[in-house]
Symmetry: C2
């Protein structure tokens, strides 16, 4: 197990100054081919690696960005985190991941930069914090919000148009002739913008079809896992409602609802059509496969990092906060249309 070697060690070996070694490593100044080769050999022989802590201390940058999401084990955030980690690597950043578990205090702590300048920027998907609070928090570092709306334009934000997407999903069910369409996934106890927007899109589509929203068909959930979807579906059925379709605000909720439909002997989609949201991989292999709203996750990752890069590398041009809308499309599978392509 080698101990560290420093610029000074390499310099001594190559017979040059430490500064010249630094120049070779960074390409930051002209170095003759001869010297460069000499230094390179010394570097290889000693197995020298730059000490990042020292570099960061000197340069004031860490090369690390934070990613704060509710839960890594949910498929949507897992997929997104994977894309973000890869996109960050392409930009020579490393990513430290924090899980907030939907805890407001954890989100607040991250936003206020409690972490001691250990990161150059933060990508956060707030869940418990209200948009208002996110906006009003004094932040010591560039922040990009995923999903949640920043009301006063105080932070960059990257998200799909939740209202339009939910409208599309509901409209798809209406076009199939369904009229008793329930929604699963409201979160009235959190002032969660995402859930509110999807509910709004759902109601908008109903309204356009001259259908009155029915409060007993708008089912709240406490969390967004499959079991919450199953529970909401059970409540819906046990409450005497007999919907012919369900729009679940996430695929996980949809898969939970689908599971419960199976246990109750309902045929999907004949008795009950189901649409989800997120296009997680499970939905492509469930039985039946799941119709869903597919956000372009690759683009979410890419744009979020681009925003962060701009703020970090060019803090001087104080661009007003961006609100980037990412495209989405409805992927029709067999949970709504029996003959849909197998995908």
């Amino acid at each position: 197990m080698r101990v560290s070697s420093s610029l000074k060690d390499v310099a001594a070996r190559a017979g040059v100054s430490a500064r010249t070694v630094s120049n070779v490593v960074n390409g930051s100044a002209r170095v003759s081919a001869q010297t460069r080769q000499k230094v390179q050999e010394a570097i290889d022989e000693l197995g020298y690696r730059p000490n990042l802590a020292a570099r960061n201390l000197r340069a004031g940058r860490t090369g690390v960005i934070g990613l704060a999401i509710p839960e890594l084990h949910s498929p949507y955030f897992g997929e997104l985190a994977g894309l973000l980690v890869d996109a960050a690597r392409r930009r020579s950043w490393t990513v430290v991941i924090d899980q907030t578990h939907g805890d407001a205090e954890a989100e607040r702590r991250l936003l206020t930069g409690d972490s001691g300048r250990a990161m150059d920027g933060l990508i956060i998907s707030p869940w418990a914090l209200e948009a208002q609070e996110v906006a009003s928090t004094a932040r010591p570092l560039p922040v990009v919000l995923l999903g949640e709306r920043s009301p006063e334009g105080l932070a960059d934000r990257v998200a799909v148009d939740n209202v339009a997407a939910a409208d599309d999903a509901t409209t798809h069910l209406l076009a199939l002739g369904r009229r008793r369409i329930a929604a699963i996934g409201l979160q009235p106890h959190l002032h969660n913008g995402t859930a509110e927007q999807r509910a709004e899109g759902y109601r908008r589509a109903l309204h356009r079809a001259h259908l009155a929203p029915r409060p007993e068909w708008e089912r709240p959930v406490t969390a967004l896992h499959r079991q919450d979807g199953a529970r909401a579906m059970a409540e819906l059925l046990d409450g005497g409602a007999s919907p012919d379709a369900v729009f679940a605000f996430t695929d996980e909720l949809a898969l939970g609802a689908l599971h419960l439909a199976h246990t109750r002997g309902l045929r999907v989609p004949e008795d009950l059509a189901i649409v989800g949201f997120d296009d997680i991989e499970d939905g492509r292999f469930s039985h039946p496969t799941l119709t869903t709203v597919s956000p372009d996750k690759g683009q979410i990752a890419e744009r979020a990092l681009q925003c962060l890069a701009d703020r970090i590398y060019s803090p001087e041009n104080e661009v007003p906060a961006l609100d980037l809308t990412i495209p989405h499309r409805l992927v029709v599978r067999r949970s709504t249309v029996p003959g849909a392509p197998a995908d």
Copy 2:
């Protein structure tokens, strides 16, 4: 956006030396109550946060550990990563995540510590590297291996007993009266210890039941996603084999196989029983629910971190490499037993 304040700034404000402020922050020496309070006030007023880069440079520790896994978006690794991140936080560590995508070069780069002492230790789940190479790589930092066996005991390793677990799964199928049991998930092109061990357990159980292994029933895969399981299942059926059960080496493969069984009109478990491995959440909500080998993931995370902590904080006691076996259990659901509890 606040700019940084340093120990020196706090010291000036409190009328003490920088060293005393450091002592207050770290509790590392006796400080009178009066001074402590004065300093604390100055810290609060200035919003001082220790600069981690400087602290790390000085102390030689970063408070960061690396987690290298093939893919974050696979449910198994997503769940495991989530547990590890939380377990690390409990120990005041942060986790940087790297995805290797099963690339040998990426794994090698991480093991050789290319990252410039940016981390104090590494937890890696090698996929492409042979155990032999992992063992022989000179490592500048403590490493814990997940899953893969370290042949010469050159690195700590945390894993379930793959042979026994695969034996359990196969034995379960045998006990149900199945005799034509296929296996999906071999990876002959990688010298992947995990797959080899699960194959070994599968064959061992067959042998004990006096059944000869049939090479055409041992299906290789190139990757471990649902689509690979589906493809392997299709090949199996198209090849004329008519198995009455399948043991898939991961739940994702099992769910892919299940999906394909549905598209071919096979009834599960009546026509085909399926067992997976990993106990990912999807399997609790699939149709039918999935019988699987459930490793204790929480314990994997906890023990891996404990190993790492021991190596990092007590490098002096050169304990020989540990090989920790994590308990597993077979969770029987409806993909093998129709009447299994709904879970």
